[in-house]
């Protein structure tokens, strides 16, 4: 049985953005995502945020909110905290924008700035360097997205790999034109912080367990999706 305490929740959805401790409402619903400025995410100037592609801004913002909620945003020494994100479309919108710079002039004007963001894991690197996170950082994609695969991998890292904490969740923009739509997957990003040991000063959204059959329970109640998990966690913390 693998288990961890959920100590932070952050999100950016069509309904808005925020984190658990703010007390705002969470819903992953269809619609247009808010346009995030640097000031919405970071209190201090950040030279890179405005230059990032929308996918990275979305993911980095939600990771930042989750870490802030858990009280892990501030740091002095690098920390063995890992990052796992699930995505269905990845950075396909950025890919399309980048390749639009390749087509004219036989590629002579291809954008190196955009190319750096044509990997779905780049935003995890942005989060790692901003917050000093040295744990494993990877992106996963499932044939049927929306489940709890990233949380399962995060629980494994906590149990087997010596990670102190893991940030896990999902991140997707709406699919670019011409890309097959994955049903039931609204755009948005939501991440949770999982910790092996409970810190008394951190929020308590419950204990997540994975049983031998692969089922997940939060404080004993079954959960099947990230949305389930976050809703139950926020409700239980009130």
């Amino acid at each position: 049985m693998l288990s961890a305490h959920i100590t932070g929740i952050g999100w950016v959805t069509a309904q808005g953005f925020g984190w658990g401790g703010q007390g705002g409402a969470f819903a992953l619903i269809p619609g247009e995502l808010p346009t995030l400025s640097r000031a919405d995410v970071f209190p201090q100037p950040d030279r890179r945020f405005g230059r990032m592609d929308p996918f990275s801004r979305l993911g980095l913002a939600a990771v930042t909110f989750a870490l802030r909620d858990a009280g892990l945003e501030e740091w002095r020494e690098k920390r063995p905290i890992g990052l796992i994100a699930a995505t269905a479309y990845g950075c396909l919108a950025t890919d399309r924008d980048y390749f639009a710079t390749v087509i004219p002039n036989g590629g002579a004007l291809a954008s190196p700035q955009l190319f750096a963001y044509t990997l779905s894991n780049t935003f995890l690197g942005e989060a790692a360097l901003r917050f000093g996170l040295t744990g494993e950082a990877l992106v996963v994609s499932e044939p049927s997205p929306g489940g709890l695969a990233p949380l399962g991998l995060a629980l494994e890292n906590l149990a087997w790999n010596g990670a102190r904490a893991m940030v896990a969740g999902l991140c997707d923009l709406a699919p670019p034109e011409g890309i097959p739509t994955v049903p039931g997957l609204p755009p948005g990003a939501v991440f949770v912080v999982l910790e092996r040991d409970r810190r008394t000063e951190a929020p308590n959204y419950g204990e997540l367990r994975r049983d031998e059959q692969g089922g997940y329970r939060l404080n004993g109640a079954p959960v099947a999706t990230m949305v389930d998990l976050v809703r139950q966690g926020l409700t239980g913390n009130k």
Partner: protein, 376 residues
């Protein structure tokens, strides 16, 4: 902790299908990096890459599909309860290129979650699978995860498939970053000037020792340890002090309950870029000190195969251990000072049972595997 055995492998590289043509090419110092025919390169920094010979797609189909087929057909029976992990950085990105130029094509294969489904369907496996993307360490981390599942008893068999294409998309990007060598790359050479892109795929069937024995499978080697760490330093450049790679190596050693002295050779990432290779040599010196230790890179021969690199290099590493020889680093002429006594343009013998395989990538990712001979 269950022992993790590699019981079957498949490989396609620019040398052709299977390991033998690659191995034979390496031993004579041959490179498969050649002038690119797939797309016009007139406006790019380089005009060469290592492409898989005879790779052709049906109309409207990604080149990923015939490459995957050439890979999977090499495998013997894969058990139906096997879990599936794929690793690719850009999957069927050639479809997005063609769509961008106005061609009509099915875009399914451009979705990253499609790849594991293709593998599972083709082999009749029950597991839906998962694709892992961690830049150029993607398949290394997929192998690490598969090994972790088996070690912990969460799976008895895991199929790991790493695959990536040479595409104009990626080629133009590295060209825009001024990261391509004009000729075949020269890993760890004092005059190295960039990487060469390559394409290919590799599949490895991992099994617990108990399951392998029950099925009468012969172990080709073991995955004894694995590690992963982020530099937390830069998005596209490695940390100069190799801090993330050092952590990843140390984690793999702890996992394998080994000391650095047990490592007899290293299959390095060795892209041929100035900063990557210098970072790796720095990290190796920090962990292994000054003792002689054969270090090799495949990338002067097969190019940088991105998400497939770790899987290809794992098959290569197991063969090195089996034959107790490390083939030459193709393209190497004058070793970088920090690599003298380690990297070589000639084959080196391996005096030991464990080989370290390392990969690093964009986003500050570092990943390592400790491979063992079958008896280890």
């Amino acid at each position: 902790m269950n022992r993790v055995c590699v019981v079957d492998t498949a490989l396609v590289s620019a040398f052709g299908d299977g390991l033998p043509p690659l191995w034979e090419g390496l031993l004579v110092g041959r490179t498969a990096v050649a002038p690119l025919q797939r797309f016009a390169t007139g406006r790019y920094q380089s005009h060469v890459a290592a492409c898989v010979p005879g790779l052709a797609a049906e109309s409207g189909e990604s080149l990923l599909l015939p490459l995957l087929e050439r890979l999977l057909v090499q495998l013997a029976l894969v058990p139906g309860d096997c879990r599936v992990l794929t690793a690719s950085t850009k999957g069927g990105i050639d479809l997005l290129e063609r769509r961008g130029r106005g061609e009509l094509c099915s875009m399914e294969a451009v979705l990253p979650g499609t790849l594991p489904a293709l593998v599972a369907r083709r082999l009749g496996l029950a597991d839906a699978g998962l694709n892992i993307n961690a830049a150029c360490a993607s398949s290394t981390l997929a192998l690490a995860r598969g090994a972790a599942w088996i070690a912990a008893g969460a799976a008895e068999a895991v199929l790991v498939v790493g695959i990536d294409l040479v595409s104009e998309f990626v080629f133009s990007g590295f060209s825009s970053l001024q990261a391509l060598s004009k000729e075949a790359s020269r890993p760890f050479d004092a005059r190295r000037d960039g990487l060469s892109l390559g394409e290919g795929g590799a599949a490895l069937l991992l099994m617990s020792e108990a399951r392998a024995r029950r099925e009468g499978r012969t172990a080709l080697g073991t995955i004894a340890g694995w590690g992963s760490a982020n530099d937390a330093n830069h998005i596209t450049a490695p940390a100069r002090d190799g801090c993330g790679l050092v952590l990843a190596i140390e984690e793999a050693l702890v996992k394998a309950s080994l000391t650095a002295a047990a490592v007899a050779a290293i299959s390095a990432h060795g892209t041929g870029t100035v900063y990557n290779d210098a970072m790796e040599l720095t990290a190796f010196a920090r962990v292994f000190g000054e003792r002689p230790l054969p270090v090799q890179s495949l990338k002067g021969a097969v190019g940088h195969t991105l998400g497939a690199a770790g899987a290809i290099e794992t098959i290569f590493g197991l063969e090195c251990l089996a034959r107790r020889v490390m083939p030459p680093t193709v393209g190497l002429v004058e070793p970088e000072e920090a690599g003298r006594g380690r990297v070589a343009a000639e084959a080196q013998s391996i005096a030991g049972d464990y080989l370290l395989s390392t990969n690093s990538g964009f986003g500050g990712v570092n990943a390592t595997l400790l491979l063992g001979r079958p008896s280890c």
